[in-house]
Amino acid sequence: MASISDFPQTPTPRSEPPSALELKLRRRTRVSSTIRYTLLIVVGLIMIYPLIWLIGASFKSNSEIFSSPWFWPKEPSLQGYVEGWKTSTPYTFATFFINSMQIVIPKVIGTAISCTLVAYGFARFEFPGKKILFTILIATLLLPDVVTRIPQYLLFRELGWLDTYLPLFAPAWLAGDAFFVFMIIQFLRAIPREMEEAARVDGANTAQTLLFIVVPILRPAIISVCLFQFMWTMNDFLGPLIYISTVEKYPVSLALKLSIDATEAFNWNSILAMTVLALTPSLVVFFMAQKSFIEGISSGGVKG
């Protein structure tokens, strides 16, 4: 892709001075792009300002937070972080982060594996009942979450899984997220089958074809799936709220709420500080994945 700097900003120098018309046109281009960029920057700042404020405020004292809408702290301090990390419970925030990871990691891995398998099956094989099964899969996409909350709760209670992380990640191991399955199927549909056929001619069986050919080609799609699943699970509040009752097992999302409930006078700066920390994993993962994410999208196509 050509960046703006690839194009000459001004015509190559000539002996005679540029005409009035040329000058006018050039000025007009410069003015219009100035306006455009200013507008974009302003809108962008407005969008991101709450986040900037959040980060700034986490370094403010509790009293300063409500006295000024400006994000920059007058006397920056780490007090919010220190206090927040300790929490009002016997555990530090580290426990809650570890708890979150105990849900997120199995869930992301399970999602990646099961959704790829199911999508591969639907996209590439003919089997009896395929149409019906696919319709059911898509139907669950349209089903509101709340509808299944109670039956699911009863099911997991019967299994004796309450107050464990199993109800939170076990469904993901069974391709419970129809949206991700659908996403990978759509991606697979755009990939010509010849590469898989070539692999079969080369002697690969179905599993080897999947592992050595399909998965690498699907990499960008699988990374996006992992990324979304990671962020959604980190932010999931309702799931843990329903199934986790012991404070020791709380993930970050619940722990944040905990610090609001537990004290009469909220320590807003420590809440904000922990919120910032809670955001960090998602951001870090996103920026780490971004490269292969974009790379994958731009190189996914195969030359004909």
């Binding site: 010509p192 056929e197 692999a199 001619v201 030359k303």
Partner: protein
């Protein structure tokens, strides 16, 4: 290397469409067989059944002395080159070539030796560490051929491997592939090849024998010369040859020895060049005459058809003259140096067929009955 046999092979697709209607084909060991026919005639389907990528719904496919109907592609001893190359996009050329060998867990030094040998033959040594997206069409095509070659298969299958290349590259790849085939033959390890194309030039120049297909049926299997000189039916006659053979309705009448062909009220005497070849009696026929076998003569000459010029195409070394005789349009190829430059559209000319080269087809079945 082994021979390949198709016995009454049929294909009915899942939607009930019958694409292949029981074909028999025998490809000898080391033979270069070309499957040719218009788009949609089930060339790919046939090839993919040989490869094992489509199920065979009737008949049997034999490679060597083994029936391979129920074998997976990897166990059939075949290698295939696809139209869009189908290189693995995430692997370097080197890994693309050796993928099959690595799956079979061949020793490392053998893999390296084979890779070096094959890349030498195809002149792709400098490309070994590139990704497929860094290759040009012709280079990718060579890698795809290399990936087939490295496996030393019993049978090579090609599905329109050159149709994504530009004309010039196509011509050079054509030569490269036939050279490779000859080379393997001379080295004492002849390669059995089934090569699918819709391009008759590829078919005529590459094939030891050619199998012409139409709508899931085999029309004729023969070497290029036979196909050109003795087409089994009107379809083959029209498909092979440039420009196309002129095929026009006519009526055959008269007793043996005094037969005539009539079209548009004009009569051609069936002389000794044609009469002994005819195996049918009088009736409506389709007359076939190649544009190269029509001589330009003065209008109203005996044993010539008189028509009006509708178009003249100057090709440089020759001229394609289109002339309307009745409702039919004949194309006639005249070498440039014998062409009368004064001729123009609308002029009347005579077209005299070389009777010994005439073909007569059954008007209904299209069968050539001037072969005897």
């Amino acid at each position: 290397m082994a021979e390949l046999k198709l016995n009454a092979v049929e294909k009915t697709y899942g939607n009930g469409f019958k694409a292949v209607h029981g074909i028999d084909l025998h490809v000898a060991e080391g033979e270069f067989m070309v499957l040719v026919g218009p788009s949609g005639c089930a060339k790919s389907t046939t090839l993919r059944m040989i490869a094992g990528l489509e199920t065979i719904t009737g008949g049997e496919v034999r490679i060597g002395d083994q029936v391979v109907n129920d074998l997976v592609p990897g166990k059939r001893g075949i290698a295939m080159v696809f139209q869009n190359y189908a290189l693995y996009p995430h692997m370097k050329v080197r890994q693309n070539l050796s993928f099959g060998l690595r799956l079979k867990r061949k020793p490392k030094e053998q893999i390296e030796r084979s890779t070096a040998e094959v890349s030498g033959v195809l002149e792709i040594e400098e490309l070994l560490d590139r990704l497929p997206k860094q290759l040009s069409g012709g280079q990718a095509q060579r890698v795809a051929v290399g990936r087939a070659l490295i496996k030393q298969p019993e049978v090579f299958l090609f599905d329109e491997p050159l149709s994504n290349l530009d004309a010039k590259l196509r011509a050079s790849m054509r030569v490269r592939i036939t050279d490779l085939h000859k080379r393997l033959r001379n080295e004492g390890r002849p390669a059995t090849v089934v090569y699918v194309t819709h391009d008759q030039v590829e078919a005529m120049t590459m094939g030891d024998r050619i199998c012409v297909m139409k709508d899931g049926h085999i029309m004729q299997v023969a070497d290029p010369t036979t196909l050109y000189d003795r087409p089994a039916n009107a379809f083959v006659a029209g498909f092979i040859g440039m420009p196309e053979m002129n095929l026009v309705p006519a009526v055959l009448s008269g007793e043996y020895g005094a037969q005539t062909l009539t079209l548009d009220g004009q009569t051609l005497t069936v002389g000794p060049g044609l009469a002994p070849r005819l195996s049918h009696g009088p009736g409506p026929v389709t007359l076939g005459v190649r544009p190269q076998h029509l001589d330009l003569v003065v209008a109203d000459s005996p044993d010539a058809l008189t028509g009006t010029i509708t178009n003249l195409e100057f090709m440089g070394h020759e001229v394609n003259l289109h002339a309307k005789v009745g409702d039919a349009v004949f194309v006639c190829v005249v070498p440039s140096d014998q062409f009368d430059r004064n001729l123009q559209r609308g002029d009347r000319v005579g077209l005299k067929p070389r009777v010994e080269k005439l073909h007569v087809f059954d008007a209904e079945t299209g069968e050539n009955f001037s072969l005897a």
